[in-house]
């Protein structure tokens, strides 16, 4: 239905303004997001009210924000389960984007983009709005087929694999505009993720065969661990749509983690967060990595990315303009030019 690359507008034309629908970008990401002009780490955060307008969760804007900062439980073991995919040694190449070009008609969305992600690292994918970050994600998760070039995962090209097959291979993602299963509970949302590696069919379910029972109990345990890790265990039976905004973001990450991915792709997970929440989120991402996940993080707030990533790839107009450690990126003239060249109006 809606195009995941263009999430900034109300996607569904049938729903008039202000629909209380958790799936359609509750905090409009078209809200003035700070284009993180390169600045020394620790400089003042651009001031803004995070996603107040049009917030369908409603309460968060009107009640004490302290209510909704959910504390995570970093000690819960959420390490990925064995999903039958070959292991890669720490620091080895996990996924490689090799000279990927993507054209829509005459528009070149990605132009010969190449980079790779090593096992166990947090890679930042940054760039101004419209640089092709989400498009890049979409190519990696099978939403689009590259016009030329290839995405290689565990040294094998993804080829024409379907989206759900890629997920089963161990690539999971979240969405820039939250796309939870709004009318399912938090627990059920996570269970859908766990189910990715389950095989219970109608027959097993109908006769309650051991396969069904094992998968259900083990899946339930894993889902509850993830919810506990995210501090959402108390809200397991709440409908996803009724959760506060911050919880919805965390639930999306929990759902993606539930598929036990080798590579977790987070698409602007901090959108709509205030600085305190952003800091917590970065901590969360680090904890997730420490539990044995590899993370690819899209973010256009540079300052944020600097603090948490091991390496950064910078895109602009569908091209890779830089790659390197946070320190290298901070001093890269091309990156500075890219960010300074875009003023506020163009960015939003």
């Amino acid at each position: 239905m809606s195009d995941p690359t263009r999430p900034t507008r109300g996607d569904d034309p049938t729903t008039p303004t202000g629909t209380p629908d958790a799936t359609s970008a509750p905090h409009p990401t078209s809200a003035p997001d700070p284009v993180g002009v390169p600045e020394p780490v620790g400089a003042a955060e651009p001031t803004r009210a995070p996603g107040i307008q049009g917030d369908p969760a409603g309460e968060s804007a009107l009640f004490d924000p302290a209510d909704e900062v959910t504390e995570i439980n970093p000690d819960v073991d959420i390490a990925p389960e064995d999903i039958g995919v070959p292991e890669v040694a720490e620091g080895e190449k996990l996924l490689e984007v090799d000279a990927v070009t993507l054209r829509f008609g005459g528009v070149v969305a990605l132009n010969e983009v190449s980079f790779h992600i090593n096992k166990g690292e947090i890679l930042g994918l940054i760039g101004p709005n419209g640089a092709g970050k989400t498009t890049c994600f979409n190519v990696m998760t099978g939403v689009y087929q590259p016009t030329s070039g290839a995405v290689r995962y565990l040294s094998e090209p993804l080829g024409k694999r379907k989206k759900f097959q890629i997920t089963k291979l161990g690539i999971a993602r979240t969405f820039q505009n939250i796309r939870l299963f709004a009318n399912m509970t938090a627990l059920e949302n996570v269970l859908v993720g766990v189910d990715a590696h389950h095989t219970t069919g109608v027959v097993s379910a109908m006769f309650r065969l051991p396969k069904h029972r094992n998968e259900e109990s083990q899946g339930y345990a894993r889902a509850m661990e993830l919810l506990t890790f995210m501090g959402l265990d108390g809200k397991a039976d709440e409908l996803a749509r009724n959760l506060p905004y911050g919880d919805q973001r965390r639930l999306e990450i929990a759902r993606a983690l539930a598929t036990s991915p080798k590579l977790l792709c987070l698409d602007e997970p901090a959108a709509g967060f205030n600085p305190a929440e952003k800091a917590k989120l970065m901590e969360l991402i680090r904890t997730i990595r420490d539990q044995g996940y590899t993370v690819l993080l899209i973010e256009h707030d540079m300052k944020l990315v600097m603090g948490v990533t091991d390496r950064i790839v910078v895109l602009e107009f569908g091209r890779k303009i830089a790659e390197g450690s946070p320190a290298e990126i901070r001093d890269n003239p091309a990156v500075i030019a890219a960010y300074l060249g875009v003023d506020e109006e163009d960015a939003s």
Partner: protein, 380 residues
């Protein structure tokens, strides 16, 4: 099935349910058993007012039961998987005609063999229709299925092999047993009196007494309901719901959405075929007029009126859609009109159906709160 819920859909809902939920298991089982016995005896109790005057109550109850069955099947497609099917009558017809063709028109197969074949035939046609069309957009699916329903009906009319416009008659009855007689209740004196002359034979599938067919349908409903409950509460049910909520996101969470949509479609078709087979069995005669498109709309209405996604809701919906027109036959000329009005009013004033899924009630409350907040903001 609860007639109590039909009468007072709003207030008795959650309170009643919670009270039942809190009972000890043994009491719950006892309650269910009593309720089942009541349902089985319903056509013989001849309860005043509920019992239809002009037409045989057993026959009416059988019709209601087939609608309930159809609604349960269609609920899997529309309510769980979120696929709008306007041609469900096609599967119903395929089930009925499989029985008719194999046991009367071109074969003499036994009823016991023919009914499973009808289910399989409907399921296969569901896969054949679904495999190419489930890839198209949701709102197009409605029209494709509408076309399918019409294609099936027109094919039945035009193919002499299938009986043409005259249809198929003399469809054999299921094998019976004739174990014992069940007496009915006579209320003509104003008080219930056991009437030993008017009885139904357990289990003789005759041509005058439709009560045994109703019993058969009740048993089938029970089995389908059990199947529904077990499958819904599993990976399969979750996959359906996730697909309904957000197909792309579901796919990216590892749900092979197409496969699950096709599964829902095939299962729904199978249940539709099963109800069609029962219909053919009871009436002994089928022709294309029994499978007009209006029936598809009625089926869909049953699901939506009751509350798509809630199996108890769609059962109530099916009863409303099928029973009231029979009960109020004196207004027969006006029943489609009244029905149309009812659909409009329902859509406007109770869009989640009479008995929405329980979670939707909570969601609705949250929405209402939100609406209040938004109005407040808008006036600023």
């Amino acid at each position: 099935m609860s007639t109590a819920a039909t009468a007072r859909p709003q207030d008795s809902g959650p309170g009643f349910r919670e009270r039942v939920d809190n009972l000890p298991t043994a009491a719950k089982i006892l309650l269910w058993a009593l309720f089942a016995v009541f349902l089985f005896l319903l056509p013989l109790l001849n309860i005043p007012f509920i019992t239809t005057e002009g037409s045989d109550f057993g026959g009416v109850l059988f019709t209601v039961a087939t609608y309930v069955l159809v609604a349960l099947g269609l609920n899997i497609v529309v309510g769980y998987a979120g696929l709008l099917d306007l041609g469900y009558v096609g599967f119903y017809a395929i089930g009925a005609y499989t029985v008719g063709v194999l046991s009367a028109e071109h074969g003499k197969l036994s009823w016991v063999v023919v009914v499973p074949l009808a289910i399989v035939a409907a399921m296969i046609s569901g896969v054949i229709l679904g495999a190419p069309t489930l890839r198209v957009r949701g709102d197009y699916l409605a029209i494709v299925t509408l076309g399918f329903g019409e294609i099936v009906r027109l094919t039945l009319v035009n193919l002499e092999y299938l009986g043409g416009a005259q249809g198929i008659s003399n469809i054999p009855k299921p094998p019976g047993l004739e174990l014992f007689e069940v007496p009915s209740i006579d209320w003509s004196s104003g008080a219930p009196v056991v009437d030993l002359d008017t009885t139904s034979t357990f289990l003789k599938f005759g041509i005058n007494d439709f009560v045994p067919y109703y019993w058969l349908a009740l048993v089938v409903i029970g089995l389908v309901l059990l199947f529904d409950i077990l499958v819904k509460d599993s990976r399969v049910g979750r996959a359906w719901e996730a697909t309904r909520e957000d197909e792309d996101a579901a796919e990216l969470m590892g749900v092979p959405t197409f496969r699950f949509k096709l599964l829902a479609f095939a299962l729904g078709a199978a249940i539709g075929g099963l109800s069609g087979a029962l219909f053919a069995t009871k009436s002994g005669f089928i022709n294309p007029q029994s499978f007009e498109l209006l029936l598809s709309i009625l089926f869909l209405a049953a699901v939506v009126v009751g509350g798509a996604g809630n199996r108890w809701g769609v059962i109530v919906g099916a009863i409303v859609v099928s029973y009231f027109p029979e009960r109020f036959r004196e207004f027969a000329d006006f029943r489609v009109l009244v029905f149309g009005l009812a659909l409009m009013l329902l859509a406007i004033f109770r869009p989640q159906g009479l008995l929405p899924p329980r979670r939707t009630v909570r969601a609705k409350r949250a929405d209402d709160r939100q609406a209040v907040l938004e109005e407040g903001e808008a006036s600023v």
